[in-house]
C-alpha cells in the first residue's frame, strides 16, 4: 500500500475513534464527527487538503529540529 493510502487510512481511523460530541469548524460549516468522515471520504478537494496539511505539519516538525522554525515547548 502506498504511503498516501496509508495516511488516508490513518486519518480516517483517527476520525472514527473520536467521541460523538467531537466537532470541527471548516469555514461556515460546523461538522460533526460523521460529517467530517463523510466529507473526507467524498470530497476529493477536502481530502487532498487534509493530506497536504498532514505532510506539511511533518515537514514543519523536521524544520523545528533543524531550528528553521522557532521552538515553542508545549505548556505544562
Amino acid at each position: 500500500m502506498s504511503e498516501v493510502k496509508q495516511l488516508e487510512r490513518e486519518v480516517l481511523r483517527f476520525l472514527e475513534t473520536r467521541n460523538n460530541s467531537w466537532t470541527f469548524i471548516f469555514g461556515a460549516d460546523k461538522l460533526s464527527k460523521d460529517d467530517t468522515i463523510k466529507r473526507f471520504k467524498n470530497d476529493k478537494k477536502f481530502r487532498g487538503l487534509v493530506l497536504t496539511l498532514a505532510v506539511k505539519r511533518a515537514i514543519d516538525s523536521f524544520k523545528v529540529e533543524t531550528d528553521e522554525v522557532p521552538r515553542h515547548p508545549p505548556k505544562v
Binding site: F14, T23, G27, A28, D29, R57, H72
Partner: protein
C-alpha cells in the same frame, strides 16, 4: 482614535467569532470610542453609517467572509469589493474566510494602511478554540497595545504566535488546522504580502515605475474608456 468592530452573530459558527471578537474590543477600548456592532444580524447600512459618522481608524470584522465581501447576516454583505475605497487610510483587521484574497488586495490598492485577513477558509477546533482565538487577535494586540508599527514584524510575530499555539495543541488535527490558518494569514501592506498584479503589462509597469504611476495610468485609461463610451452613445443618438 475611534474604532469600528463588526461581529455579527446568526448561527453556531458566528457564535464563536462573536465571542472571539470581544478580545479586539478589549484591546481597542482604551484607545477611544468603539462602535461595537454585533450580537445579531448587522445591516450594511449600519456599518456604512458608522464609518461615515465616526471615521474610525481601526476597522475590525470577525464573521463569515467571501473573496469579495464581509458578511453581516446569511444574505447581508456589509462590505463589498466596491466599498474598498471606504477602507482607505484605515487599519483593517479581519478574522473571516477568504476576504484577503480579493477584497483585502483591493482595499490595500485603494489606500488601506494594512489589511490583515485570511486568503483561504478559516478552520478551527472548538475543543481547543482558545489556541485559535489567541492567534487570531495577536496582530491587533501587537499594533495597538504594544505599539508595534513595523508591519513585516507583525506578520512574523503572528506566524510565530501560530507556531507557539501549534506547540501547545494536544491533537494533531488541531495542529494541522492551525498550520492551515497560519499559512492562509495575509498582512497586506507595503513590503509584506503585497498582492501581485495578474496582468503581465501591469506587473511590468509596476516593477519599472512603481504603484503610483500604475494607478495614475489606470485612472487615465478609465477616463478614456468613459469618454469613448459617451461619444459612442452620442453618435448613436
Amino acid at each position: 482614535m475611534k474604532s469600528l468592530v463588526i461581529r455579527p452573530k446568526f448561527d453556531d459558527v458566528t457564535g464563536y467569532s462573536y465571542r472571539w471578537a470581544e478580545d479586539t474590543v478589549q484591546v481597542l477600548r482604551p484607545q477611544g470610542e468603539v462602535c461595537d456592532l454585533g450580537g445579531g444580524v448587522v445591516a450594511r447600512g449600519t456599518v456604512h453609517e458608522c464609518i461615515g459618522r465616526d471615521d474610525p481608524f481601526f476597522v475590525v470584522h470577525y464573521d463569515h467572509g467571501e473573496e469579495e465581501a464581509w458578511m453581516g447576516g446569511p444574505e447581508e454583505r456589509v462590505i463589498k469589493i466596491e466599498d474598498a475605497p471606504l477602507l482607505s487610510g484605515r487599519v483593517v483587521y479581519t478574522m473571516n474566510c477568504l476576504s484577503a484574497k480579493r477584497l483585502g488586495a483591493e482595499a490595500w490598492k485603494k489606500g488601506a494602511i494594512v489589511y490583515v485577513g485570511y486568503a483561504e477558509v478559516f478552520a478551527f477546533m472548538p475543543e481547543e478554540e482558545d489556541l485559535f482565538r489567541q492567534a487570531a487577535s495577536h496582530g491587533l494586540r501587537l499594533y495597538v497595545a504594544e505599539g508595534v508599527r513595523d508591519l513585516p514584524t507583525i506578520k512574523a510575530k503572528m506566524v510565530e504566535k501560530y507556531d507557539e499555539m501549534i506547540g501547545q495543541a494536544k491533537s494533531y488535527w488541531t495542529q494541522i488546522w492551525l498550520t492551515h490558518d497560519r499559512d492562509a494569514l495575509r498582512v497586506i501592506a507595503d513590503g509584506v504580502d503585497e498582492p501581485k498584479e495578474e496582468c503581465p503589462v501591469s506587473r511590468t509597469i509596476e516593477f519599472i515605475f512603481g504603484r503610483t504611476v500604475l494607478e495614475k495610468l489606470r485612472g487615465i485609461r478609465d477616463s478614456l474608456y468613459m469618454r469613448m463610451a459617451l461619444i459612442f452613445i452620442l453618435v448613436k443618438l
